[in-house]
């Protein structure tokens, strides 16, 4: 390469093209790895925030809905023939059931690691660079890498550095490493990889955009912004819910 760049050796146009494509591929690989990392990090942080959120208010919402169901059932007893009252009682009972399920499900999930360390991020980068399915050229290899990638993502989510390093070690050499082939074949393969990389980068970006539009992400952002300004919105919400519960209890047992 160096010799060619310095013009000491005669460089064929195909070889020039290959070098350009190689550089482009490297650049796109970097981009992809960064994009995958931010997507996975966002998803992991959301998961962690979700647990925090449900632990703070899940049970309170469940309690509140249960009380509301109780109240509307009591109303139904007073006016058993009113279709509106009946519909309301039914709806609030169903909601109470759903809420209880939702709050209970998240509560039963295991605790996650407190935070994502830089070391973990680096390991993730290395693993993705090595094993990303969009660097595969055959369907077989792609499927193999897809399974590996899922394992990497899971390990990252758990904060399991050792598992990622083990995956890297076991992966070994790239079976599709482009060596010892003629320039034309290498150009073809590189062009294909570049196309795949571009497609995946777009996909990841779209996924990240979609993620940012979800309620849970917006909730997380809102709460974290408030917390950065020394607010305690989650605590305030919990206190508000407790107040509502007290009020509903008064109503329910009045």
């Amino acid at each position: 390469m160096n010799l060619q760049e310095k013009g000491w050796l005669k460089v064929l146009p195909e070889e020039q093209e290959l070098a350009r494509l190689d550089a482009q591929q490297k650049e796109l690989e970097e981009q992809l790895v960064s994009a995958e990392l931010s997507l996975e990090t966002a998803a992991t942080e959301i998961e962690r925030f979700k647990q925090r959120y449900y632990r703070a208010v899940g049970r309170l919402y469940a309690e509140l809905d249960e009380l509301e169901a109780k109240i509307s059932n009591a109303r139904l007893k007073q006016a058993p023939n009113d279709p509106n009252v009946r519909a309301h009682a039914k709806a609030s009972e169903e909601r109470a059931k759903r809420t209880a399920e939702e709050a209970g499900f998240v509560e039963s999930q295991p605790d996650s690691e407190p935070e994502i360390t830089p070391t973990l991020k680096q390991a993730y980068r290395r693993a993705v660079k090595l094993m990303h399915p969009d660097l595969a050229l055959t369907e077989k290899e792609r499927l193999r890498r897809t399974a590996l990638m899922a394992q990497i993502n899971l390990a990252y989510k758990r904060g399991d550095l050792a598992a990622i390093e083990k995956l890297i070690k076991e992966y070994g050499e790239d079976p599709e490493a482009i060596v010892g082939e003629d320039v034309a074949s290498r150009i073809v393969k590189t062009i294909r990889r570049i196309a795949q990389l571009r497609r995946r980068i777009d996909e990841v970006k779209q996924e990240l955009e979609a993620l940012k539009k979800t309620d849970i992400y917006r909730l997380k952002q809102t709460i974290e912004e408030q917390e950065a300004n020394r607010g305690d919105p989650l605590g305030d919400l919990a206190r508000d819910l407790k107040r509502q519960i007290v009020e509903k209890q008064r109503k329910a047992y009045a």
Binding site: Y53, R95, E102, E139, A150, D215, L219, T222, L237
Partner: protein
């Protein structure tokens, strides 16, 4: 070697590997109910409108506070609007916010807003602070320790007087109550009557009620029965159901002492000759007015009058009608009464099916005294079931009640175990429950007779038992008491003592 253009090596599109999603952590598309609700709640709390002026914010808050103008009551909203107005130095909003915060026991904040309102010269806030100045809930959080109660009080009454003179009925009412207070420096029944009348004449419902109350007080110098009745009926017309009840009682008894006055040994002088028909029509008016608010006290009370026949002619048909009216609407006392009346058959015709229905409704409905209703159900299944005793259900209900420390259910459970009804005979269990019944009825003056009966049942059983079994049963009873969490601490202490003292 084949030489070809790179492009010919390119696989066709369909040969490209299929896209397989690699990211397993993507959130599910389905939206989660609790997350959307949390987001909405937090966004709303952050976006209380700021552009509106304090007065309209305050008014909105009052609408949420008082369930006015088609706005359903919502303390959260009220609080948010009050807070917004209070921050803009709206004295009344500060006062209302302070009351609301007090209801939630957030005293430091409540006192802070109260002091702000006082400093802006808001009369009700001054009066409130004067009244509660020595209350530690308030006093501990005051930022200024130098308030003077009588000065605050003077300021407040000046504030009310200014508005009362301007014709504000609410201020006239409050001012009248201030003058009525015997401990106040400006105590003056004449002034109180004058201002209360002024408010009542402007159709202030509570003022009419209060004025009627004062005029019917036969010990007061301004006593005037006719005028008292007039103002009560005015209050009734303004929708105050309490006025109907007071008028009903007055016509029923001829005096204002209330139905339980004679039971308490109080003498009330006769104001008018009793008139049962008028009494009943006032009670019926009360029931009408209460119905709009979802209250059924009047129906329950009229049903009782017909049932027991102490003051009205006994009439089972009407008694049943009014009690059912209240019970069907969820009135707990009526449900209990119907349950016991249909069981005993002393007054209403015995009806086991109906009795069971109402006992069960009462059990579902009651909260703090659920164990009593559970005991009643157990008793019903043991003794009053139409076909035959149903010991299995009796045990179930007794057990529920007994586990909460209901002493009658514990004794009932003991006897079922002693005589092997619904369960195999088990003296150890029987002794355990008898002993707990003794413990839980210990030291309570109202149930001394029961306590003695429970001791007797336990000791008769003990004669049939060997000492090691008795010791085991006592241990079980003691363990039970050690594990129970639902007893009131005072009752728990008594029961502990009862278990030890009653054991000898």
């Amino acid at each position: 070697m084949e030489v070809s253009l790179p492009i010919s090596h390119m696989p066709k599109n369909e040969q490209l590997p299929a896209t397989v999603p690699t990211n397993s952590t993507l959130p599910q598309a389905q939206s989660s109910g609790l997350i959307a609700r949390g987001l909405a709640a937090i966004q709303q709390s952050l976006s209380v409108p700021e552009k509106q002026d304090a007065e309209s914010l305050f008014k909105k808050g009052m609408r949420y506070r008082n369930d006015e103008g088609g706005t359903p009551q919502n303390s959260e909203q009220a609080r948010a609007y009050f807070l917004a107005a209070a921050t803009l130095n709206h004295a009344e909003a500060q006062y209302e916010l302070s009351l609301l915060l007090g209801e939630y026991n957030e005293w430091p904040k409540a006192v802070g807003w109260l002091e702000k309102s006082v400093s802006l010269g808001f009369g009700p806030a001054q009066q409130y602070l004067a009244k509660l100045l020595s209350d530690p809930l308030i006093a501990d959080h005051l930022s200024n320790p130098n308030y003077d109660e009588s000065q605050l009080y003077r300021q407040a009454s000046a504030w009310f007087e200014e508005r009362a003179k301007a014709g504000d009925p609410a201020a006239q009412y409050d001012l009248a109550l201030m003058h009525w207070n015997e401990e106040a420096t400006n105590y003056s029944p004449e002034e109180a009557m004058r201002w209360m009348k002024a408010a009542a004449e402007q159709d202030h419902g509570f003022a009419c009620l209060r004025l009627g109350e004062w005029l019917l007080d036969d010990k007061a110098p301004h006593h005037n029965t006719e005028q008292g009745i007039y103002w009560f009926s005015r209050a009734a017309e303004l929708g105050k159901s309490h006025a109907c009840q007071r008028l009903g009682d007055l016509y029923l008894l001829g005096h204002m002492g209330g139905r339980y006055a004679s039971k308490r040994g109080e003498k009330s002088s006769q104001l008018i000759p009793p008139d049962k028909n008028s009494a009943v029509s006032w009670y019926e008016r009360q029931i009408e007015l209460e119905k709009e608010r979802g209250s059924f006290m009047g129906a329950q009370s009229l049903g009782r009058l017909y049932l027991f026949g102490d003051y009205l002619d006994q009439n089972m048909l009407l008694a049943e009608r009014w009690l059912l009216h209240a019970a069907n609407a969820g009135n707990l006392d009526s449900q209990r009464l119907l349950g016991s009346e249909y069981t005993s058959g002393k007054r209403l015709k015995r009806n086991a099916t109906a009795a069971l229905h109402w006992l069960k409704m009462a059990e579902q409905n009651s909260s703090s005294s659920k164990h009593c209703d559970q005991y009643q159900l157990g008793y019903f299944y043991e003794h009053d079931n139409d076909n035959a005793p149903n010991y299995l259900d009796a045990i179930m209900w007794y057990r529920n009640a007994a586990d909460q420390g209901e002493y009658r259910a514990q004794k009932g459970l003991g006897s079922l175990y002693e005589f092997g009804r619904g369960v195999p005979t088990d003296y150890v269990q029987a002794y355990k429950w008898y002993a707990l019944s003794v413990a839980n009825s210990y030291g309570k003056p109202g149930i001394r007779d029961f306590h003695a009966v429970a001791i007797k049942a336990r000791d008769v059983l003990a004669q049939k038992m060997i000492p090691s079994h008795i010791a085991e049963a006592r241990q079980l009873a003691s363990d039970w008491l050690g594990n129970i969490t639902s007893l009131h601490p005072a009752d728990y202490e008594l029961a502990r003592e009862g278990l030890v003292k009653g054991a000898s």
